[in-house]
């Protein structure tokens, strides 16, 4: 198996299960990946990932508009085909004026967001001023970059309001960091983008924006099996964030598409009141 080792970092610690550093005599002097000794390399990787990678599959979105930043997410956590929880908090409150969204590995996102919150607080104490959204997202991106290739799974958006106004950054486990106005992350994101992009106008009011965000999450949960639970919507304004709504998506369905009572039921109703 010929693998491209040009980008390989020799400082990556080895975590082998039963693998040793001299797998092949010819390669013992050349840096190489520690590979498991199995006949089925592909299958092994998938099994290893499946055994310990938990809670992925999600829909999160955030966008900037005239009134600030709107952040929304579903609340389902799945382990393979099993729904491990319908009430996961995917919008993490880093501090009173900054939010982070969670997509990918639940433990990775929870831990690194908590860590980011600590770093932001230390920055405030050291510099006597709040950290900017750009700064916070940079801290997180740099941290994740140093763990690149080690299997972390984080796809997060940092949304907040600082001195320059509303800010929104997308940060992922590759160490990528993008500034933007509209993002959706997760397995349900294509569906959310469809609804979000078609309804988006910068001049929306807060009510219109929150309804658009809620609707986008609802549509994503409708079509994506890995998304569901409760659609939470947060608004980040100049005074900080507030939670605007939390609705069960099952009930939202009947709210958007009410079922007219069948004629037979109406007749039954009349009969019982006599």
């Amino acid at each position: 198996m010929k693998l491209d080792t040009s980008g390989f970092e020799t400082s990556v610690p080895t975590i082998g299960f039963g693998s040793s550093s001299d797998m092949l005599d010819e390669l013992s002097s050349v840096p190489s990946f520690d590979l498991p000794h199995t006949k089925e390399f592909d299958g092994f990787q998938k099994k290893a990932v499946d055994m310990l990678k938990h809670a992925k599959g999600t829909t999160t979105l955030a966008f900037i508009f005239k009134g600030g930043v709107m952040v929304a997410a579903d609340s389902r956590a799945s382990m393979g085909g099993y729904i491990s929880s319908q009430s996961v908090k995917k919008i993490i409150e880093i501090n009173p004026y900054m939010l982070g969204t969670m997509a990918g590995g639940a433990a990775d996102c929870q831990f690194w967001h908590r860590n980011l919150g600590i770093k932001c607080r230390l920055h405030e104490l050291a510099n006597k001023r709040r950290i900017s959204v750009s700064g916070a997202s940079k801290l997180l991106a740099n941290m994740l970059y140093s763990y690149r290739g080690m299997g972390l799974s984080v796809g997060t958006m940092i949304a907040g309001w600082d001195e320059t106004g509303p800010g929104l950054y997308y940060v992922d486990n590759e160490g990528g960091r993008l500034k933007g106005d509209r993002f959706s992350v997760g397995s349900g994101s294509p569906y959310a983008y469809g609804v979000l992009d078609s309804g988006y106008k910068y001049e929306m009011s807060v009510e219109e924006a929150s309804e658009l965000a809620r609707r986008s999450i609802y549509h994503a949960t409708f079509r994506d099996g890995a998304s569901g639970g409760v659609a939470s919507v947060y608004h980040v304004g100049p005074e900080g964030w507030t939670k605007l709504s939390g609705d069960d998506v099952g009930e939202l369905h009947y709210h958007y598409y009410p079922v007219p009572p069948a004629i037979a039921e109406q007749v039954m109703e009349e009969a019982t009141t006599e």
Binding site: G18, M79, G105, A107
Partner: protein, 223 residues
């Protein structure tokens, strides 16, 4: 030529199921006492429930050697906390400590599926469920282990509480009385034992209240 190495895994699964239910002023933590490896039973009398603090009890299924190691770490951290703060750790504090301890070994995880039960600062029951690397969530009830997929749907049916994410906020603690919760746990384990080969032998139930902990033992099918 590839060297042939023995395929050795540092992990093993000792099976078993753990359940916890939070009430208004109590918490019920239960686990079966069967410890197995593959198709063999290692012990019919192995306790998977461990008291970490007065108000926090941990129940873990998975690889019991990792569970033992995890407990040791938590016990020593708790002792240090008691020396520094002159009080026992509260359940929410222990919950976060457990999460951080699990994440600390993110790249060589503890193969332990945990349910932490106890009483929070207000005296209400609380249950926290975890995955193997430390993501955690406070819930009204939880099940982990080999029988969890059999038990969770039934608990959802009986105890489904409004999600804590809903706005306006609704209380998520179960309206059951302590006796009803214990009865529910016994029913649920009896059913799981029927269909899960790794669950059985005996059921150990711990009921945590403000005035202390009570333990009950019930027989389950041994086949």
């Amino acid at each position: 030529m590839t060297k042939q190495h023995a395929n050795w895994s540092p992990y093993d699964n000792n099976g078993g199921t753990c359940v916890a239910i939070a009430g208004s002023d109590y918490c019920v933590i239960a686990a079966d006492t069967r410890m197995s490896t593959g198709y063999s039973i290692l012990s019919r009398d192995y306790s998977k429930i461990h008291k970490l603090a007065d108000k926090a009890v941990l129940s873990s299924s998975g690889f019991q050697a990792d569970v033992k190691a995890l407990q040791k770490v938590l016990k020593s951290r708790h002792l240090i906390y008691q020396h520094q703060h002159n009080k026992q750790m509260s359940c929410p504090a222990m919950a976060q400590l457990l999460s951080n301890t699990l994440y600390f070994k993110r790249f060589f995880p503890y193969y332990a599926f945990n349910v932490l039960g106890g009483l929070d600062e207000e005296g209400k029951g609380c249950v926290f469920t975890y995955d193997a690397v430390g993501s955690y969530e406070r819930v009204g009830y939880g099940a982990q282990g080999s029988g969890s997929t059999l038990i969770m749907p039934f608990l959802d049916n009986q105890l489904k509480s409004p999600s804590p994410l809903l706005l306006p906020k609704q209380d998520s603690n179960t309206p059951l009385s302590e006796a009803e919760a214990v009865d529910l746990v016994k029913t649920v384990f009896a059913s799981a034992t029927e269909r899960d080969i790794y669950t059985g032998d005996k059921l150990e139930i711990m009921i945590l209240k403000a005035d202390g902990i009570k333990t009950e033992l019930m027989d389950l099918r041994k086949d």
